[in-house]
Symmetry: C2
Subunit: 245 residues, 2 copies
Protein backbone atom coordinates (compact mmCIF):
# COMPACT_ATOMS: atom_id res chain seq x y z
CA UNK A 1 0.00 0.00 0.00
CA UNK A 2 2.64 2.49 1.06
CA UNK A 3 4.22 3.19 -2.30
CA UNK A 4 7.27 4.70 -0.71
CA UNK A 5 9.45 3.03 -3.32
CA UNK A 6 8.28 5.84 -5.56
CA UNK A 7 11.02 8.47 -5.20
CA UNK A 8 8.82 11.30 -4.01
CA UNK A 9 11.58 13.86 -4.12
CA UNK A 10 12.04 13.68 -7.85
CA UNK A 11 8.50 14.72 -8.55
CA UNK A 12 8.50 17.14 -5.66
CA UNK A 13 11.27 18.96 -7.41
CA UNK A 14 9.38 19.01 -10.68
CA UNK A 15 6.50 20.66 -8.85
CA UNK A 16 8.78 23.40 -7.65
CA UNK A 17 10.33 24.25 -10.98
CA UNK A 18 7.08 24.56 -12.81
CA UNK A 19 8.88 25.95 -15.82
CA UNK A 20 10.02 22.55 -17.08
CA UNK A 21 7.10 21.23 -19.10
CA UNK A 22 4.38 23.71 -18.24
CA UNK A 23 1.36 23.34 -15.96
CA UNK A 24 -0.60 21.11 -18.33
CA UNK A 25 2.15 18.55 -18.64
CA UNK A 26 2.69 18.67 -14.90
CA UNK A 27 -0.98 18.00 -14.31
CA UNK A 28 -0.82 14.98 -16.57
CA UNK A 29 2.23 13.76 -14.77
CA UNK A 30 0.42 14.10 -11.44
CA UNK A 31 -2.51 12.18 -12.85
CA UNK A 32 -0.24 9.45 -14.17
CA UNK A 33 1.26 9.12 -10.75
CA UNK A 34 -2.17 8.81 -9.17
CA UNK A 35 -3.05 6.22 -11.79
CA UNK A 36 -0.08 4.13 -10.72
CA UNK A 37 -1.17 4.42 -7.09
CA UNK A 38 -4.80 3.40 -7.55
CA UNK A 39 -5.03 -0.35 -7.82
CA UNK A 40 -2.73 -2.53 -9.88
CA UNK A 41 -1.64 -2.08 -13.45
CA UNK A 42 -2.71 -5.59 -14.45
CA UNK A 43 -6.41 -5.24 -15.08
CA UNK A 44 -7.97 -2.28 -16.84
CA UNK A 45 -5.11 0.10 -17.53
CA UNK A 46 -5.81 3.82 -17.69
CA UNK A 47 -6.27 5.24 -21.15
CA UNK A 48 -4.85 8.63 -22.15
CA UNK A 49 -8.37 10.05 -21.98
CA UNK A 50 -8.75 8.72 -18.45
CA UNK A 51 -5.56 10.45 -17.54
CA UNK A 52 -6.48 13.82 -18.92
CA UNK A 53 -9.91 13.62 -17.32
CA UNK A 54 -8.23 12.91 -14.02
CA UNK A 55 -5.57 15.57 -14.52
CA UNK A 56 -8.20 18.22 -15.16
CA UNK A 57 -9.72 17.73 -11.73
CA UNK A 58 -6.73 17.36 -9.40
CA UNK A 59 -5.79 20.21 -7.07
CA UNK A 60 -2.55 20.32 -5.12
CA UNK A 61 -2.42 21.54 -1.53
CA UNK A 62 0.36 21.54 1.02
CA UNK A 63 0.07 21.21 4.77
CA UNK A 64 2.66 22.10 7.38
CA UNK A 65 3.80 19.57 9.92
CA UNK A 66 1.24 19.45 12.70
CA UNK A 67 -1.63 20.97 10.75
CA UNK A 68 -4.97 19.31 10.25
CA UNK A 69 -6.06 18.11 6.80
CA UNK A 70 -9.54 17.12 7.89
CA UNK A 71 -11.34 16.49 11.14
CA UNK A 72 -13.43 13.61 12.44
CA UNK A 73 -17.07 14.43 11.80
CA UNK A 74 -16.41 16.57 8.71
CA UNK A 75 -18.45 15.73 5.68
CA UNK A 76 -16.31 13.91 3.09
CA UNK A 77 -16.71 16.04 -0.02
CA UNK A 78 -13.91 14.61 -2.11
CA UNK A 79 -10.87 12.37 -2.26
CA UNK A 80 -7.37 13.01 -0.89
CA UNK A 81 -4.25 11.41 -2.28
CA UNK A 82 -0.98 11.80 -0.41
CA UNK A 83 1.75 12.99 -2.76
CA UNK A 84 4.58 13.30 -0.27
CA UNK A 85 4.87 13.36 3.50
CA UNK A 86 2.80 11.44 6.02
CA UNK A 87 -0.64 11.74 7.54
CA UNK A 88 -1.74 10.30 10.85
CA UNK A 89 -5.38 9.23 11.01
CA UNK A 90 -6.51 9.24 14.61
CA UNK A 91 -9.56 9.26 16.85
CA UNK A 92 -9.94 10.75 20.29
CA UNK A 93 -7.40 12.71 22.27
CA UNK A 94 -5.15 12.47 25.28
CA UNK A 95 -4.73 9.03 26.77
CA UNK A 96 -7.77 7.83 24.83
CA UNK A 97 -6.22 8.63 21.46
CA UNK A 98 -6.21 5.76 18.97
CA UNK A 99 -4.29 5.90 15.71
CA UNK A 100 -6.18 4.11 12.97
CA UNK A 101 -3.48 4.38 10.35
CA UNK A 102 -0.43 6.32 9.25
CA UNK A 103 -0.45 6.84 5.50
CA UNK A 104 2.29 7.94 3.15
CA UNK A 105 2.80 8.74 -0.54
CA UNK A 106 0.34 6.96 -2.82
CA UNK A 107 -2.32 6.45 -0.17
CA UNK A 108 -5.90 7.41 -0.98
CA UNK A 109 -8.45 8.48 1.60
CA UNK A 110 -11.88 10.01 1.92
CA UNK A 111 -13.26 8.11 -1.08
CA UNK A 112 -14.97 5.49 1.08
CA UNK A 113 -16.81 8.08 3.13
CA UNK A 114 -17.67 10.07 0.04
CA UNK A 115 -19.13 7.02 -1.69
CA UNK A 116 -21.16 6.08 1.36
CA UNK A 117 -22.17 9.64 2.22
CA UNK A 118 -20.87 9.30 5.75
CA UNK A 119 -18.79 11.72 7.80
CA UNK A 120 -15.08 11.13 8.21
CA UNK A 121 -14.52 8.89 11.23
CA UNK A 122 -11.02 10.17 12.05
CA UNK A 123 -8.90 13.30 12.03
CA UNK A 124 -5.89 13.58 9.71
CA UNK A 125 -2.81 15.35 11.09
CA UNK A 126 0.29 15.97 8.98
CA UNK A 127 3.23 14.24 10.69
CA UNK A 128 5.61 16.08 8.38
CA UNK A 129 5.21 18.79 5.77
CA UNK A 130 2.85 17.06 3.38
CA UNK A 131 1.60 17.58 -0.15
CA UNK A 132 -1.87 16.31 -0.89
CA UNK A 133 -3.79 16.02 -4.15
CA UNK A 134 -7.48 16.67 -3.89
CA UNK A 135 -10.17 15.39 -6.21
CA UNK A 136 -13.53 17.01 -5.60
CA UNK A 137 -16.61 14.87 -5.19
CA UNK A 138 -18.41 15.66 -8.42
CA UNK A 139 -15.31 15.02 -10.50
CA UNK A 140 -14.71 11.76 -8.68
CA UNK A 141 -18.28 10.69 -9.18
CA UNK A 142 -18.03 11.69 -12.84
CA UNK A 143 -14.90 9.66 -13.42
CA UNK A 144 -16.37 6.60 -11.74
CA UNK A 145 -19.70 6.88 -13.47
CA UNK A 146 -18.39 7.38 -16.99
CA UNK A 147 -15.12 5.50 -17.17
CA UNK A 148 -15.24 1.80 -16.58
CA UNK A 149 -11.47 1.47 -16.37
CA UNK A 150 -11.30 3.95 -13.52
CA UNK A 151 -14.14 2.31 -11.61
CA UNK A 152 -12.44 -1.03 -12.09
CA UNK A 153 -9.09 0.22 -10.84
CA UNK A 154 -10.64 2.00 -7.92
CA UNK A 155 -12.35 -1.21 -6.94
CA UNK A 156 -8.95 -2.88 -6.74
CA UNK A 157 -7.61 -0.04 -4.64
CA UNK A 158 -10.43 -0.32 -2.11
CA UNK A 159 -10.09 -4.09 -2.11
CA UNK A 160 -6.42 -3.77 -1.20
CA UNK A 161 -7.28 -1.52 1.69
CA UNK A 162 -9.95 -3.92 2.92
CA UNK A 163 -7.56 -6.87 2.77
CA UNK A 164 -5.01 -4.86 4.72
CA UNK A 165 -7.58 -3.86 7.29
CA UNK A 166 -8.73 -7.44 7.78
CA UNK A 167 -5.15 -8.54 8.13
CA UNK A 168 -4.69 -6.00 10.85
CA UNK A 169 -7.71 -7.32 12.72
CA UNK A 170 -6.36 -10.85 12.43
CA UNK A 171 -2.99 -9.62 13.65
CA UNK A 172 -4.51 -8.04 16.73
CA UNK A 173 -6.94 -10.70 17.92
CA UNK A 174 -5.57 -12.83 20.72
CA UNK A 175 -1.96 -11.89 20.08
CA UNK A 176 0.40 -11.04 22.89
CA UNK A 177 1.69 -7.49 22.95
CA UNK A 178 5.14 -8.76 21.96
CA UNK A 179 3.78 -10.32 18.78
CA UNK A 180 1.75 -7.25 17.96
CA UNK A 181 4.74 -4.98 18.38
CA UNK A 182 6.97 -7.12 16.18
CA UNK A 183 4.25 -7.07 13.56
CA UNK A 184 3.63 -3.34 13.58
CA UNK A 185 7.33 -2.57 13.40
CA UNK A 186 7.56 -4.64 10.25
CA UNK A 187 4.42 -3.10 8.79
CA UNK A 188 5.36 0.50 9.41
CA UNK A 189 9.00 0.20 8.42
CA UNK A 190 10.29 2.45 5.65
CA UNK A 191 13.78 1.57 4.46
CA UNK A 192 14.56 -0.50 7.54
CA UNK A 193 13.41 2.10 10.05
CA UNK A 194 10.12 3.08 11.67
CA UNK A 195 9.98 6.89 11.67
CA UNK A 196 7.38 7.25 14.43
CA UNK A 197 7.58 8.27 18.08
CA UNK A 198 6.74 5.60 20.61
CA UNK A 199 3.65 7.51 21.62
CA UNK A 200 2.22 7.08 18.13
CA UNK A 201 3.12 3.41 17.94
CA UNK A 202 1.45 2.85 21.30
CA UNK A 203 -1.68 4.61 20.06
CA UNK A 204 -1.71 2.39 16.98
CA UNK A 205 -1.83 -0.69 19.18
CA UNK A 206 -4.18 0.79 21.75
CA UNK A 207 -1.71 0.35 24.61
CA UNK A 208 0.11 2.71 26.96
CA UNK A 209 3.56 3.96 26.15
CA UNK A 210 5.40 2.36 29.11
CA UNK A 211 4.14 -1.08 28.02
CA UNK A 212 5.46 -0.49 24.54
CA UNK A 213 8.74 0.93 25.78
CA UNK A 214 9.40 -2.05 28.02
CA UNK A 215 9.07 -4.47 25.10
CA UNK A 216 11.10 -2.27 22.78
CA UNK A 217 14.02 -2.20 25.22
CA UNK A 218 13.78 -5.95 25.49
CA UNK A 219 13.98 -6.19 21.70
CA UNK A 220 16.94 -3.85 21.74
CA UNK A 221 18.77 -5.94 24.35
CA UNK A 222 18.29 -8.93 22.06
CA UNK A 223 19.77 -7.08 19.11
CA UNK A 224 16.52 -7.01 17.14
CA UNK A 225 16.18 -3.24 16.89
CA UNK A 226 17.88 0.00 17.76
CA UNK A 227 15.75 2.64 19.48
CA UNK A 228 16.56 6.17 18.37
CA UNK A 229 15.02 9.56 18.97
CA UNK A 230 11.64 9.54 17.24
CA UNK A 231 12.49 6.44 15.24
CA UNK A 232 13.39 2.78 15.50
CA UNK A 233 15.89 0.92 13.31
CA UNK A 234 15.15 -2.67 12.47
CA UNK A 235 18.32 -4.72 12.76
CA UNK A 236 17.13 -8.31 12.44
CA UNK A 237 14.07 -8.48 10.24
CA UNK A 238 14.09 -12.28 10.00
CA UNK A 239 13.86 -12.80 13.74
CA UNK A 240 11.25 -10.06 14.03
CA UNK A 241 9.18 -11.80 11.38
CA UNK A 242 9.48 -15.06 13.29
CA UNK A 243 8.27 -13.32 16.45
CA UNK A 244 5.25 -11.72 14.81
CA UNK A 245 3.49 -15.08 14.84
Amino acid sequence: MELSKQPAETLQRSIRLLGGGGPAELAIRQAAWVARCVGHGDAAPFTPEDLSALAASLRTTTFERGSVVFRAGDEADGVWIVRSGRLELSVGAGSKRAVVHVIGPGAVDGDIQYLLGMPLPYTAHALADTTVLYLDGESFEGLLGKRLSIARRWLTSVAMRLAESQERIIGMLGRSLTEQIARILLEEAVDGAVPLPQRTLAAMLGVQRPSLNKTLKEFERNGLIKVRYGAIDLLDIDRLTAMSG
Copy 2:
Protein backbone atom coordinates in the same frame (compact mmCIF):
# COMPACT_ATOMS: atom_id res chain seq x y z
CA MET B 1 -24.74 -4.96 5.99
CA GLU B 2 -26.57 -7.91 7.49
CA LEU B 3 -29.69 -7.84 5.41
CA SER B 4 -31.57 -10.05 7.76
CA LYS B 5 -34.68 -7.99 7.28
CA GLN B 6 -35.03 -9.92 4.04
CA PRO B 7 -37.33 -12.84 4.91
CA ALA B 8 -34.97 -15.62 3.91
CA GLU B 9 -37.53 -18.34 4.40
CA THR B 10 -39.81 -17.16 1.67
CA LEU B 11 -37.18 -17.53 -0.99
CA GLN B 12 -35.83 -20.66 0.60
CA ARG B 13 -39.20 -22.19 0.04
CA SER B 14 -39.29 -21.06 -3.54
CA ILE B 15 -35.97 -22.79 -4.08
CA ARG B 16 -37.41 -26.04 -2.85
CA LEU B 17 -40.56 -26.01 -4.89
CA LEU B 18 -38.84 -25.26 -8.14
CA GLY B 19 -42.11 -25.74 -9.96
CA GLY B 20 -43.49 -22.29 -9.16
CA GLY B 21 -42.12 -20.07 -11.90
CA GLY B 22 -39.54 -22.33 -13.46
CA PRO B 23 -35.77 -22.38 -13.09
CA ALA B 24 -35.16 -19.34 -15.29
CA GLU B 25 -37.46 -17.11 -13.30
CA LEU B 26 -35.96 -18.42 -10.09
CA ALA B 27 -32.49 -17.58 -11.33
CA ILE B 28 -33.57 -14.05 -12.10
CA ARG B 29 -35.10 -13.74 -8.68
CA GLN B 30 -31.86 -14.90 -7.09
CA ALA B 31 -29.94 -12.39 -9.15
CA ALA B 32 -32.31 -9.60 -8.18
CA TRP B 33 -31.78 -10.49 -4.57
CA VAL B 34 -28.02 -10.35 -5.01
CA ALA B 35 -28.40 -7.00 -6.75
CA ARG B 36 -30.18 -5.63 -3.70
CA CYS B 37 -27.39 -6.95 -1.48
CA VAL B 38 -24.46 -5.50 -3.42
CA GLY B 39 -24.09 -1.82 -2.61
CA HIS B 40 -26.93 0.66 -2.40
CA GLY B 41 -29.73 1.26 -4.82
CA ASP B 42 -29.05 4.99 -5.07
CA ALA B 43 -26.26 5.17 -7.58
CA ALA B 44 -26.11 3.05 -10.73
CA PRO B 45 -29.10 0.73 -10.51
CA PHE B 46 -28.94 -2.67 -12.14
CA THR B 47 -30.46 -2.92 -15.58
CA PRO B 48 -32.49 -5.94 -16.67
CA GLU B 49 -29.53 -7.02 -18.80
CA ASP B 50 -27.25 -6.81 -15.79
CA LEU B 51 -29.66 -9.02 -13.93
CA SER B 52 -29.87 -11.69 -16.55
CA ALA B 53 -26.11 -11.71 -16.99
CA LEU B 54 -25.77 -12.20 -13.27
CA ALA B 55 -28.52 -14.79 -13.13
CA ALA B 56 -26.85 -16.89 -15.79
CA SER B 57 -23.74 -17.33 -13.69
CA LEU B 58 -25.02 -17.97 -10.19
CA ARG B 59 -24.85 -21.47 -8.74
CA THR B 60 -26.60 -22.49 -5.53
CA THR B 61 -24.94 -24.75 -2.98
CA THR B 62 -25.97 -25.78 0.51
CA PHE B 63 -23.75 -26.60 3.45
CA GLU B 64 -24.67 -28.48 6.58
CA ARG B 65 -24.11 -26.99 9.97
CA GLY B 66 -20.48 -27.49 10.92
CA SER B 67 -19.18 -28.08 7.40
CA VAL B 68 -16.46 -26.04 5.78
CA VAL B 69 -17.23 -23.75 2.83
CA PHE B 70 -13.60 -22.83 2.19
CA ARG B 71 -10.33 -23.09 4.04
CA ALA B 72 -7.63 -20.57 4.87
CA GLY B 73 -4.95 -20.81 2.21
CA ASP B 74 -7.31 -21.93 -0.56
CA GLU B 75 -7.08 -20.00 -3.76
CA ALA B 76 -10.08 -17.68 -4.14
CA ASP B 77 -11.55 -18.71 -7.48
CA GLY B 78 -14.88 -16.94 -7.26
CA VAL B 79 -17.34 -15.07 -5.11
CA TRP B 80 -19.65 -16.40 -2.42
CA ILE B 81 -22.89 -14.75 -1.38
CA VAL B 82 -24.73 -15.99 1.68
CA ARG B 83 -28.37 -16.66 0.85
CA SER B 84 -29.51 -17.98 4.21
CA GLY B 85 -27.81 -19.24 7.35
CA ARG B 86 -24.57 -18.00 8.88
CA LEU B 87 -20.88 -18.44 8.20
CA GLU B 88 -18.09 -17.98 10.72
CA LEU B 89 -14.82 -16.70 9.29
CA SER B 90 -11.98 -17.73 11.56
CA VAL B 91 -8.24 -18.15 11.75
CA GLY B 92 -6.25 -20.61 13.84
CA ALA B 93 -7.56 -23.32 16.11
CA GLY B 94 -7.88 -24.21 19.77
CA SER B 95 -7.17 -21.46 22.24
CA LYS B 96 -5.48 -19.43 19.48
CA ARG B 97 -8.62 -19.28 17.36
CA ALA B 98 -9.67 -15.80 16.26
CA VAL B 99 -13.02 -15.11 14.61
CA VAL B 100 -12.68 -12.40 12.01
CA HIS B 101 -16.37 -12.09 11.24
CA VAL B 102 -19.70 -13.85 11.35
CA ILE B 103 -21.66 -13.18 8.18
CA GLY B 104 -25.31 -13.73 7.41
CA PRO B 105 -27.74 -13.40 4.50
CA GLY B 106 -26.68 -10.79 1.94
CA ALA B 107 -22.99 -10.89 2.82
CA VAL B 108 -20.47 -11.22 0.02
CA ASP B 109 -17.05 -12.81 0.43
CA GLY B 110 -14.10 -14.04 -1.60
CA ASP B 111 -14.31 -11.19 -4.09
CA ILE B 112 -11.51 -9.21 -2.45
CA GLN B 113 -9.13 -12.13 -2.57
CA TYR B 114 -10.16 -12.97 -6.10
CA LEU B 115 -9.56 -9.43 -7.28
CA LEU B 116 -6.17 -9.29 -5.62
CA GLY B 117 -5.18 -12.81 -6.57
CA MET B 118 -4.42 -13.72 -2.97
CA PRO B 119 -5.33 -16.84 -1.02
CA LEU B 120 -8.22 -16.75 1.42
CA PRO B 121 -6.93 -15.62 4.81
CA TYR B 122 -9.57 -17.40 6.88
CA THR B 123 -11.67 -20.55 7.00
CA ALA B 124 -15.46 -20.38 6.63
CA HIS B 125 -17.51 -22.75 8.78
CA ALA B 126 -21.28 -22.97 8.52
CA LEU B 127 -22.75 -22.13 11.94
CA ALA B 128 -26.13 -23.38 10.79
CA ASP B 129 -27.39 -25.08 7.65
CA THR B 130 -26.48 -22.50 5.07
CA THR B 131 -27.30 -21.80 1.44
CA VAL B 132 -24.62 -20.05 -0.56
CA LEU B 133 -24.66 -18.59 -4.06
CA TYR B 134 -21.45 -18.95 -5.99
CA LEU B 135 -20.27 -16.77 -8.84
CA ASP B 136 -17.23 -18.18 -10.60
CA GLY B 137 -14.22 -16.00 -11.19
CA GLU B 138 -14.45 -15.61 -14.95
CA SER B 139 -18.10 -14.62 -14.81
CA PHE B 140 -17.38 -12.16 -12.02
CA GLU B 141 -14.51 -10.66 -13.96
CA GLY B 142 -16.71 -10.49 -17.03
CA LEU B 143 -19.50 -8.67 -15.24
CA LEU B 144 -17.11 -6.16 -13.74
CA GLY B 145 -15.20 -5.60 -16.94
CA LYS B 146 -18.18 -5.12 -19.20
CA ARG B 147 -20.88 -3.55 -17.06
CA LEU B 148 -20.14 -0.24 -15.52
CA SER B 149 -23.21 -0.31 -13.30
CA ILE B 150 -22.10 -3.55 -11.71
CA ALA B 151 -18.55 -2.35 -11.13
CA ARG B 152 -19.93 0.82 -9.62
CA ARG B 153 -22.23 -1.06 -7.27
CA TRP B 154 -19.56 -3.52 -6.29
CA LEU B 155 -17.33 -0.61 -5.39
CA THR B 156 -19.96 0.60 -2.97
CA SER B 157 -20.26 -2.87 -1.48
CA VAL B 158 -16.52 -3.13 -0.83
CA ALA B 159 -16.47 0.42 0.51
CA MET B 160 -19.15 -0.51 3.03
CA ARG B 161 -17.12 -3.44 4.19
CA LEU B 162 -14.01 -1.33 4.54
CA ALA B 163 -15.86 1.29 6.57
CA GLU B 164 -17.19 -1.45 8.81
CA SER B 165 -13.76 -2.97 9.23
CA GLN B 166 -12.21 0.37 10.12
CA GLU B 167 -14.96 0.99 12.60
CA ARG B 168 -14.17 -2.29 14.21
CA ILE B 169 -10.50 -1.36 14.55
CA ILE B 170 -11.48 1.96 16.10
CA GLY B 171 -13.81 0.13 18.45
CA MET B 172 -11.07 -2.19 19.64
CA LEU B 173 -8.15 0.17 20.12
CA GLY B 174 -7.67 1.21 23.70
CA ARG B 175 -11.15 0.19 24.81
CA SER B 176 -11.78 -1.70 28.00
CA LEU B 177 -13.14 -5.17 27.64
CA THR B 178 -16.47 -4.02 29.04
CA GLU B 179 -16.84 -1.42 26.28
CA GLN B 180 -15.82 -3.89 23.61
CA ILE B 181 -18.33 -6.44 24.82
CA ALA B 182 -21.18 -3.95 24.89
CA ARG B 183 -20.25 -2.92 21.37
CA ILE B 184 -20.03 -6.39 19.91
CA LEU B 185 -23.34 -7.42 21.45
CA LEU B 186 -25.00 -4.50 19.71
CA GLU B 187 -23.23 -5.22 16.43
CA GLU B 188 -24.02 -8.90 16.29
CA ALA B 189 -27.60 -8.64 17.48
CA VAL B 190 -30.31 -10.04 15.25
CA ASP B 191 -33.83 -9.18 16.38
CA GLY B 192 -32.70 -8.23 19.86
CA ALA B 193 -30.65 -11.36 20.48
CA VAL B 194 -27.11 -12.49 19.75
CA PRO B 195 -27.32 -16.08 18.49
CA LEU B 196 -23.72 -17.05 19.21
CA PRO B 197 -22.08 -19.16 21.90
CA GLN B 198 -19.81 -17.32 24.32
CA ARG B 199 -16.82 -19.17 22.92
CA THR B 200 -17.38 -17.54 19.54
CA LEU B 201 -17.93 -14.10 20.99
CA ALA B 202 -14.72 -14.45 23.00
CA ALA B 203 -12.84 -15.45 19.84
CA MET B 204 -14.22 -12.39 18.06
CA LEU B 205 -12.71 -10.14 20.70
CA GLY B 206 -9.51 -12.12 21.09
CA VAL B 207 -10.09 -12.82 24.77
CA GLN B 208 -10.61 -15.94 26.88
CA ARG B 209 -14.08 -17.21 27.59
CA PRO B 210 -13.97 -16.78 31.40
CA SER B 211 -13.19 -13.08 30.98
CA LEU B 212 -16.15 -12.68 28.69
CA ASN B 213 -18.42 -14.71 30.93
CA LYS B 214 -17.54 -12.64 33.98
CA THR B 215 -18.58 -9.43 32.24
CA LEU B 216 -21.70 -10.98 30.76
CA LYS B 217 -22.91 -12.09 34.19
CA GLU B 218 -22.24 -8.59 35.46
CA PHE B 219 -24.36 -7.19 32.62
CA GLU B 220 -27.06 -9.72 33.46
CA ARG B 221 -27.08 -8.71 37.13
CA ASN B 222 -27.59 -5.11 36.01
CA GLY B 223 -30.54 -6.09 33.85
CA LEU B 224 -28.82 -5.25 30.58
CA ILE B 225 -29.00 -8.69 29.03
CA LYS B 226 -30.26 -12.21 29.58
CA VAL B 227 -27.79 -15.04 29.03
CA ARG B 228 -29.33 -18.11 27.46
CA TYR B 229 -28.00 -21.35 26.06
CA GLY B 230 -26.06 -20.46 22.93
CA ALA B 231 -27.56 -16.99 22.76
CA ILE B 232 -27.87 -13.70 24.58
CA ASP B 233 -30.98 -11.51 24.73
CA LEU B 234 -30.47 -7.76 24.79
CA LEU B 235 -32.84 -6.21 27.31
CA ASP B 236 -31.68 -2.60 27.56
CA ILE B 237 -30.21 -1.47 24.27
CA ASP B 238 -30.00 2.19 25.28
CA ARG B 239 -27.83 1.54 28.28
CA LEU B 240 -25.68 -0.89 26.32
CA THR B 241 -25.14 1.77 23.67
CA ALA B 242 -24.11 4.23 26.37
CA MET B 243 -21.60 1.71 27.70
CA SER B 244 -20.03 0.98 24.34
CA GLY B 245 -18.22 4.33 24.47
